[in-house]
């Protein structure tokens, strides 16, 4: 554990493996996995192709979408690296539509999506869709081109200098947003009851934007989240939140994810 789980949605197998190579070198977990007997890389790409192509029967498209979502759930995906054009010559849906469908399914805990388009040339074509997407899922997406330099695509230097940084930044933003949304939910739940813990949640919420989220904090938060409902008396609630606050305040950018 401790690695970021990334789902790469890319219909060109050569490009998929190139991305995977670039990411695996940096110790990320890349999905789909070749060894997955339920849905390997080829099958996953097939499901994506079926879903984006409007001409497949609805039943098959539904099945394909379920398979895509299974990948996300099963592998606890933290971020999606999404290609823009996923279909062939037909007028297919794009990666933006797929990201929208996925994030609409998990409304409230949206996944950050890093879109990767082949070149800037497609900018005008996708901008309208992308702007709409940005309006619906603010903060949680970014657009990068695939780093085309002369004859090469997905150049390694470009990847390590630009794409990796973008992935990290987006991931952190995604985590922060995720915790913030959970805190907002808790504040709503506690508004009529425990005013002290509500106050603590609000302070924690403010800190989330200012301090980087560390692995330690992440773990402590997940523990607190799972025990929170079980601890009906909420005796040590404030102490636990205080602990989270301390963890966050003591974090430094170097230690962050």
């Amino acid at each position: 554990m401790g690695k970021i789980n990334i789902l790469v949605v890319e219909n060109q197998s050569t490009q998929f493996y190139k991305i995977k190579d670039n990411l695996c070198n940096k110790e990320y977990n890349v999905f789909p996995n070749e060894s997955d007997t339920d849905c390997n890389v080829t099958e996953f790409v097939n499901y994506v192709k079926v879903w984006v192509n409007e001409e497949y029967p609805d039943a098959y498209k539904k099945e394909a979408f379920e398979k895509i979502c299974n990948q996300i759930e099963k592998n606890q995906i933290d971020l999606i690296l999404m290609d823009h054009i996923l279909g062939g010559g037909c007028k297919c849906k794009t990666g933006i539509a797929l990201a929208r469908a996925i994030n609409s399914k998990w409304k409230g805990v949206e996944l950050p999506v890093l879109f990767m388009s082949r070149t800037e040339e497609s900018e005008k074509r996708r901008l309208m869709d992308y702007n709409r997407y940005m309006a619906d899922f603010p903060q949680l997406s970014q657009w990068l081109h695939k780093g085309f330099f002369g004859d090469e695509i997905l150049n390694e230097d470009y990847f390590s200098n630009v794409v990796i940084d973008a992935i990290d930044a987006l991931y952190k933003k995604g985590q922060t947003e995720k915790y913030k949304k959970i805190l907002v939910q808790w504040v709503k739940e506690d508004e009529t009851g425990d005013k002290k813990s509500t106050q603590m949640y609000k302070i924690l919420y403010d800190y989330l934007g200012k301090y980087p989220v560390t692995l330690e904090f992440k773990k402590a938060f997940e523990d607190y989240k799972s025990n929170r409902l079980l601890d009906a008396s909420k005796k040590n609630d404030c102490k636990k939140i205080q602990h989270l606050l301390n963890l966050l305040r003591s974090s430094t950018p170097q230690l962050s994810l």
Binding site: E54, G88, G89, E121, K124, L127, M128, F148, I153
Partner: protein, 1100 residues
Amino acid sequence: MEWNIPEEPLLRLPATWHSPEECALCFDDSQSKPLFETDKTSLSPALIINPPANIKKLRAEENKSQPFDKVNFDGSILYCKVIRNGEHLLFSSKTDALIDNNTQEIQDWLERIRPELGISLSREKQGEKESETETEIRKARALKKTDKVIILSPCHYSNTRFIYIINRYLFHSAATIIHYQPDTDYSDNFKLLYEKHLNQTDARIFFVDDTLISGRTFFRIYDLFRFATGYQGKLSGAIFLSDKSAADIHTRVLRAAGRIDAFVNINLPLSPRVFNANPLEYEARRYRELYETSLHDALKSELTEKANLLKRFGATVDTRDPRQKQHVRMFKATHLAYELFGKNPELKGIDTFDDFMRESGFVCEDVECRIAMFKILSQYPFLLHMTLRIEVFRWHKTWMRKISDELRGIFDRREALPCAKFEELKFLIRRSVFLGNFYILSAEFFRLLAEVFELLEQGMASASGIVGQLSRNEQENVENFHLYILAQYVEMIRKNRWCAVQLVRTLEKNGVEQAFGTSAGKRMIRMLKIEIATVVDDFYHLLEKDRAWTNLYVEAKSIDKDKDNEWIKCYFEHNPSLLKTPEFVLANKVLKLLDEKGGIEPRFLDYLWIKQFLDRSREDRAFSEISLTKKTEAIVERMCRLFDQNLGAFFIVTDKTQYRHLVFDRTPDQLSLIDADALNESMDEDSGKNGQPCSQHQYEILLNSLDGRPDASKFDKHVIAEYGFREGPGPDPTWKNLYEETDSSYKSSDYLKYLEENGYRWLLLERISDFKAAPGQVSLGLLGFYANKDLSKSLLSRQLIMLLRKDLSTFIRMHHKNDEFSALRAAEATRRFAYLAGHGRYMMQQLANTDSSKCRPMIMTMEQLQYLFAIRNVDERGNAQQSRREELRGKIINGFYTNEIAIKNFANSLQELAKTIYSSPIVETSVQADIRSDSDSTACTFPFSERLLQFFCFELIVNAKKNRYIYTQNWTCENGKNLKKNMLHIRFSMADNDSAMVVEFTGTGPYPGSSVIGTINAGRNTKPQNEIAGLELIRQVIKILNQDNSLAISTRKGCVACESCKMKCTCATCSLSCNSDCSNKCKYGVYRNTIKLILHKIQK
């Protein structure tokens, strides 16, 4: 030596100076007087101080001619524009008709003049004294039976009948007729041929012609006659059917010929040249100038139509034209007016117009006659006579007041406006412009106009008195009334710029603008407020004369967005007197260009910068090193600043084939909102239909504006359109067309919806028309501005962007219809090639680089072809010349050697190639498939380039693989089997008597989509950005080789009985008979898609 002699006036006259904007003599109806204007170069106005010339022609009873009112002119006077002897005439005389109508009268007239033939006119009648001896000698010269009569006449088809009559009835057919054509016959021959005849002692020579107008023909022949007779010969008389000459011409001819006999004397005006042009030419020039300065296409159309009408000389006469009657009335009125001035030049005892009508004898109850008489008195040449103009101006004021009262009465009584009254009003408004009656600028008149617009909307009563049942002509007059009024105001401003100030003041008066409640009225006011801005042109022309201004940016190598206005500011600081010139003072009063501290309005500085930039850009003097893209950006960004707000904007231009290009698209956040490819989608799709965009088109609103489709009024075309997101009748705000004066909310198109989603609340569209073509007919581009708040109140901004339309039109014509734009597009094409290297080709290169790759030669061919297209062919829709395509064809044929392809062997080799491609993990993934390749061809070989054919087949196999059917886990075929297998069948056959080879690639896959099928079969590109790759590359190559070559796609469901083969079809997957419902879309989704390639033999 110092010159200090004071200038002393010769004559001191009392003078009172009035400010042109405040002058009560102009703008106060109770005190107003006609304004006699001078132009910039003369000190005295173009005026004739005397009343219209005293007519010195003899009265009818004196020279025995037929009285004017007893001549039947029916059908002989036709209204049309003709040029005779360099004179422009409004009437054409039909001599035959005049003779036919008056045969008996002409015979009687000839009998009357017969006794006096040859006797020259008494000198007393010519205003001189004559002795008794002289009288005797004169009478002794009467024509004798023994005299040899010679008729001299110009050679023209129209006078032959009249000459025949004269010869027969007066000279018993004994005269010698000399027909001479001054324009074509050589004068030397005249003397040679006719000298003997003319010099006979007993020769009596008469000049005979049907009409005398300018006297030019007469004098040319007369001069020759005098020359041939050694300046000794004399004419015995001149005989005309109708004498239409002016008084001076008449006198000169009389002195030369001794006597003039004319069947009818007609008084027609002199044709004074106005500013060195014939009156009609001057009129056409005036309309042209108005056209140049006006800002709206609708108005330009109206003015062009008028100018063209004037220029249509010699057009076929339409006797059904309603103007025929009116112009014959004017013809008669002119004669009678001259007769009256002959009798009573000072108009003594004539106070009102009614008096004038009565005295002239032009008595008619019909208002049309009053209009005819008033019209001739208020136009050239009568308009030039000072005393008459003063009177006519006074009569016009009275008539104007009368009709105003009548119209108000009709409005108050809620009656229908009679058609005749409406025409009378229009006539008087037009006369106001001619006479300079500025009453029509007053608030009182504007309120009356508002009432008239309301009356028109309620329905006008036709000539027969029935409301709503108007003739087509009347209907058009009502519909275009706002344009008519607008044209009058524009002309008035053109004549006197200070009228613009008056108009601004009137429109600012409380309740004036609000009085206009009808849509036509509002439209007129809106257009007028924009047209007023043309006064700025004068100031700009002043700047253009200054070399320092034109050279302001000559040295500029770049555009500095923030500092460029400083140059202009600096220019005005060095030339402060410019801001005190009447031109600027006037522009400032109309547009308010100075703030309270005297600083120049920043928007005006931006306007001047753009104008200067566009002008210099046209001359290619300044900014010559700046690219077209940068220039376009600079212009549009500056135009955004005219609104003083942070705006988003776009700029679409069209090329020669009206293909649309998005050359600028930027939101305030530097994003783009428009999909450039989609702009042309509808045009392509609809070209074969009815020319209308499909209703679902996301840019319908833009395309309507760009193509100038009529707006909701159905009459005007969009030039400027504005939309606002406002409260509507429903609970939520909606987009409304702010110029559509109806309450219904504008239907929300995709583009507006998208603007709304991005937080924009206002959109302004401005169409740029091609002013070289018919106005409004050809669109060159569309500018759009949008903002997150309503800017519809910003009048100055709209005025300034409308003033820039013409310059933008020139800019587009210069830069987007020529080689510069082609070069830009060529660069784009090359860039596209570079982009192509990035994606699809990456996979191809990998495939080529694998060991023992069979695909390498095909991939090399593909790269060569793409390279050729990128550098040799810009775009077939654009400015690429035909020669380029020929050049490209040559390159392809020479580069890819043609040989005799053994078809069966080739088919077998393809099967291997297809298996390699399907099993390759590089082309997506390894895929199982049934692959077959066979040939039904009767011929063994086919002359074609094997390399090209291999490449086509390779590309189509890769295509088939990429578009294969993808089977999900739960998929089963209709027969319950689970064979998840694709198929590819390649089939060769011959067509057109073995002159063409057909290659079909049938593969299983999902339905390709009707739009894709339509696009491919229509020969259009399915790729974005016009990339030349895949099917498009094949199509381009085969079409260059032979236009009859084709590439098409067809599809059929895998498991239905298809209509074409009428046989039970089989499941595409398991090949068993199908059981599914044939009438619906295949529920299993497997289709057989066929790409059919028809190739003809390559002929070098």
